[in-house]
């Protein structure tokens, strides 16, 4: 008897229903996975509704060829496409398919794994892999491939700068730090070709999120063993994602071709994708000259394209989670006094400041931008660092700087970068001068020199931008601000109550409880003014009218490929020009 497949749109509805009654993420996955196994082809996270939707009189283009690039996308030749070994290879993620992936709402959904289940406390996870999972040369892509790939990532010989990513896995850290000679003790085991069992160091509610991220992508063992570092060249590469690499002319262009062995191949409309290497300096010129179909925009081009009637409708904003914030160094006067820090926080006129970014920043009142897991919208928290010049001055009473006098030399240090970072910093200087009579010197530093000093806590006052690596508050809070870290701390600020909340959030598997932990952590940090959020990153892109299929998330925003969601290309289809 043929079991009807439950359409994905219904599953999304189910998720909403469940979360309304308090069923947490992990639990939903159990439920959804259970439902999916009733279906014939397994869980396909792409909503059925996303099949090409054509308007009246429109036709699918005969030539399903998309050209993307520019605006920061592949401004340099990738060093490889080997995400398994080098998370920052800047290669094409669409060549790969991981056990899970992020959907357009940045929720992890099963992908190559049709089902994900955990034990009672969330310390052992089991991934059931689809039996139609193949590599682009037709050979099966099995659990053994994933076991080998993940162990390769943790292997100290790979020198992967991001290998601490999997330290939640039992035995991963000793293996990576060479305290044990091999990976036999690491808790990743392929029980058979289609089952992968992962044992963690303890309950980890967020593990599905980790397995959906770029750092968990597989590699093709025979190719790696045969070609070594050159295995991702076009002539050698074997991949399991929606596209294969047909050609790669270094520093010039990459050409992708639809992978007919891909598990979701029947739903991929695009046949060919051309990605020229376009340095930032070209701006939107290639897009405007019809040499590209889809391109992110930089500060100089947004206003012009938004104002011009011809291109107005082509421009759209897309979510790209990042936060600009200030770090007043608690070990250096005048910021060693919490009242001074709070005063600075009250003096930040966010609405005015973001105007200088010309559309590329919006005011921020907490670390995580809206729409992402862990976003905080509590009025109580918003009030802690609200813009209030009177309160700012009032805070200074009782300090040596009362009335905005006697400020010592204050240097605001930042790293050289684009997208309006410098004008924003100058705007911060301006409001501090206006509301607190605090004069600051802006010091723009070369990238590596800046980082070297940052880790040493040399700077008195820092202007810094953070991009979200994966959508879980653990990344935003723990990785950035956890006080007990021995290395990799950007600031000297430490707060025990704050750290406690972070540890609770890490170890709990109950989603609602976790979010409460992180919200409390945010409240503590803002009250102690360990950091001062100023703005969230807003990014814009432009797409020609012939490009369709870009997904929209729950908030109605169009989503393009980023660090987290990399599923754009399989959804796109081209229509005939009107």
């Amino acid at each position: 008897m043929k079991i009807p497949r439950i359409p994905d749109a219904q599953l999304d509805l189910l998720a909403e229903r469940l979360s309304a009654i308090g069923v947490g993420r992990r639990d939903f996955l159990k439920v959804a996975a259970g439902l999916a196994t009733l279906g014939a082809a397994g869980f396909n996270a792409r909503p059925a509704a996303a099949a090409p939707k054509l308007g009246p009189g429109e036709k699918l283009a005969k030539d399903q060829h998309l050209r993307i690039g520019g605006g920061g996308w592949w401004q340099n030749d990738p060093s490889s496409h080997d995400y398994n070994k080098d998370l920052y290879c800047t290669g094409v993620a669409a060549l790969w398919a991981g056990l899970m992936k992020f959907d357009v709402n940045f929720q992890p959904v099963p992908y190559v794994a049709s089902r994900v289940a955990s034990n009672a406390d969330g310390s052992v996870w089991t991934f059931t892999i689809r039996k139609d999972s193949k590599w682009s040369d037709g050979s099966p892509c099995t659990a053994k491939d994933f076991e080998w790939s993940w162990k390769r990532q943790m292997d100290p010989a790979s020198k992967n700068p991001y290998s601490s990513y999997f330290y939640d896995i039992k035995g991963a850290e000793p293996f990576n730090k060479s305290k044990v000679p091999d990976a036999s003790q690491v808790g990743v085991v392929a029980k058979d070709d289609w089952t992968l069992e992962v044992t963690l160091e303890g309950p980890r509610g967020y593990f599905p999120v980790l397995s959906a991220y770029l750092a968990a992508l597989p590699a093709h063992r025979p190719s790696v063993e045969k070609h070594g570092d050159k295995w991702t060249e076009a002539a050698n590469i074997v991949c399991n994602g929606p596209f294969t690499l047909e050609a790669w002319e270094h520093n010039k262009v990459m050409v992708l071709r639809k992978n007919k062995h891909f598990i979701g191949a029947k739903d991929v409309t695009l046949d060919k994708v051309t990605i020229p290497i376009v340095p930032l300096e070209s701006g939107a010129l290639p897009y405007e000259n019809n040499e590209l179909d889809l391109s992110p925009l930089q500060t100089g081009d947004l206003k012009r394209l938004r104002d011009a009637p011809a291109t107005k409708s082509q421009v759209f904003r897309y979510p790209f989670p990042g936060t600009w914030y200030l770090l007043p160094q608690v070990t250096k006067p005048p910021f060693d006094n919490v009242k001074v820090r709070r005063a600075v926080a009250h003096a930040i006129d966010r609405e005015s400041i973001v105007r200088v970014a010309d559309g590329f920043a919006i005011p921020a009142h907490s670390m995580i931008p809206p729409g992402f897991p862990g976003a905080v919208d509590d009025k109580k928290i918003r009030d802690i660092q609200r813009f209030d010049p009177k309160a700012a001055m009032a805070m200074l009473k009782g300090t040596p700087y009362e009335g905005g006098r006697n400020w010592p030399k204050i240097t605001l240090t930042m790293r050289q970068e684009g997208l309006g970072s410098k004008p924003l910093a100058e705007a911060v200087q301006s409001v501090l001068l206006e509301h607190l009579n605090m004069k600051t010197d802006l010091e723009v530093q070369e990238q590596r020199v800046f980082r070297a000093g940052l880790w040493q806590h040399n700077y008195q006052f820092v202007w810094i931008r953070w991009f979200m690596d994966y959508p879980d508050p653990h990344n935003e809070y723990f990785d950035t601000f956890y006080g007990k870290k021995t290395e990799g701390k950007r600031q000297a600020w430490v707060n025990d109550a704050f750290d406690k909340e972070l540890e609770l959030g890490r170890d709990t598997r109950d989603t609602k409880k976790r979010m409460a932990n992180y919200a409390k952590a945010e409240e503590i940090m803002q009250t102690d003014a360990g950091y001062i959020p100023v703005a969230w990153v807003a990014r814009w892109a432009a797409a020609k009218p012939t490009v369709r299929g870009l997904e929209k998330n729950k908030l109605g925003e169009t989503v393009v490929d980023g660090n987290i969601y990399v599923d754009m290309l399989p959804q796109i289809y081209m229509v005939e020009k009107a």
Binding site: V356, Q416, S430, V449
Partner: protein
């Protein structure tokens, strides 16, 4: 190298003086004679100044240069507004009656920033050139004059310095000495003298063969006097031309360095940086990039004409 823009770091000057003055008799001590007037003996310098004053184009250039210097010195008085005063309500506005040259990304008055920018650009441009000339000319002159092993050694030294990784050196200097205007033009100057050295050497090589040099030597002139009184004044042409090119080149080098994060720190305005940062807005807010570009071009033209005039004045054969 591929970093600064005009001629990519060549810092070039001309070669040896051609066979323009074979006996060079006229080089020292020309005597000005006017029909019917009493014989007036005058020095090389007074003659030169008189010639300079008569050259209208050069004087125009000189006046502009002087004006720029005055603007740079009196920026505080001349600028209608402080260059840090922001206005979040009027960002990136094109020129209006209120803001004669428009406003920048923070609503600051572009005219005021241009005026203060004159100070920075003059300092960077002239400061770097002073260092460049002080190092490059003596080295080149010594190399060309002494010849033999000294020449061989110095030329190789110049060759090595030519390939020097300027960007890295500037990062190093800035991180050791800290940010600051003087450190920047020291760093630029210390790595930019090689072109002038080569040109000076080539000039000196040719000139030292001339009879007037022999004559002067025969008269007992020592090495230093020979160089400073006789040879170098005749080698001036390429040095002057190189300096006029070097000034905008230093300005652009500073701008290029700021793209990496080792330039002058904001909010201090520098024309070079304003052009560099304004480039991405050229099609939306043209004024951000165009006005500083014009300023640099005018500065360069002024130095060019004035420099040409100075060189012409010092050349006794130009009438």
């Amino acid at each position: 190298m591929g970093l600064s823009t005009p001629a990519s770091g060549t810092n070039v000057t001309a070669g040896p003086r051609p066979l323009a003055d074979p006996d060079g008799i006229r080089a020292p001590l020309p005597v000005a004679v006017e029909a019917g007037a009493e014989l007036r003996s005058s020095s090389l310098w007074r003659d030169a100044i008189r010639r300079l004053l008569r050259n209208r184009l050069a004087m125009a250039g000189g006046i502009v240069v002087a004006l720029l210097c005055l603007i740079a010195i009196f920026a505080d008085v001349l600028a209608p507004r402080p260059y840090t005063k922001t206005n979040f309500g009027r960002l990136n506005e094109a020129p209006t009656r209120d803001y004669l040259l428009g406003t920048d990304q923070l609503g600051r008055d572009l005219l005021s920033r241009m005026i203060y920018g004159a100070r920075v650009s003059m300092l960077v441009g002239l400061g770097a050139q002073i260092i460049v000339v002080s190092i490059g000319v003596p080295i080149g002159a010594l190399s060309g004059y002494l010849g033999g092993r000294a020449d061989l050694f110095l030329t190789r030294f110049i060759d090595v310095m030519y390939a020097f990784p300027r960007l890295l050196f500037v990062i190093l200097v800035m991180s050791m000495l800290g940010a600051g205007l003087t450190n920047i033009f020291i760093a630029i100057g210390l790595t930019g003298w090689v072109g002038i050295a080569r040109q000076t050497r080539a000039q000196v090589l040719a000139i030292k063969e001339k009879e007037f040099v022999d004559a002067a030597r025969g008269l007992g002139a020592g090495f230093a006097r020979l160089l400073s009184r006789h040879i170098l004044p005749n080698a001036m042409t390429p040095i002057v031309v190189a300096v006029t090119f070097g000034i905008p080149e230093a300005i652009f080098t500073e701008a290029a360095l700021s793209f990496i994060g080792v330039g002058i720190n904001p909010p201090t305005p520098s024309w070079g940086q304003m052009v560099g940062e304004g480039q991405q807005y050229i099609r939306s807010y043209w004024h951000l990039c165009v006005f500083p570009s014009i300023a640099i071009a005018v500065t360069m033209l002024a130095f060019t004409f004035f420099g040409d005039g100075v060189r012409d004045a010092l050349d006794p054969k130009m009438k």
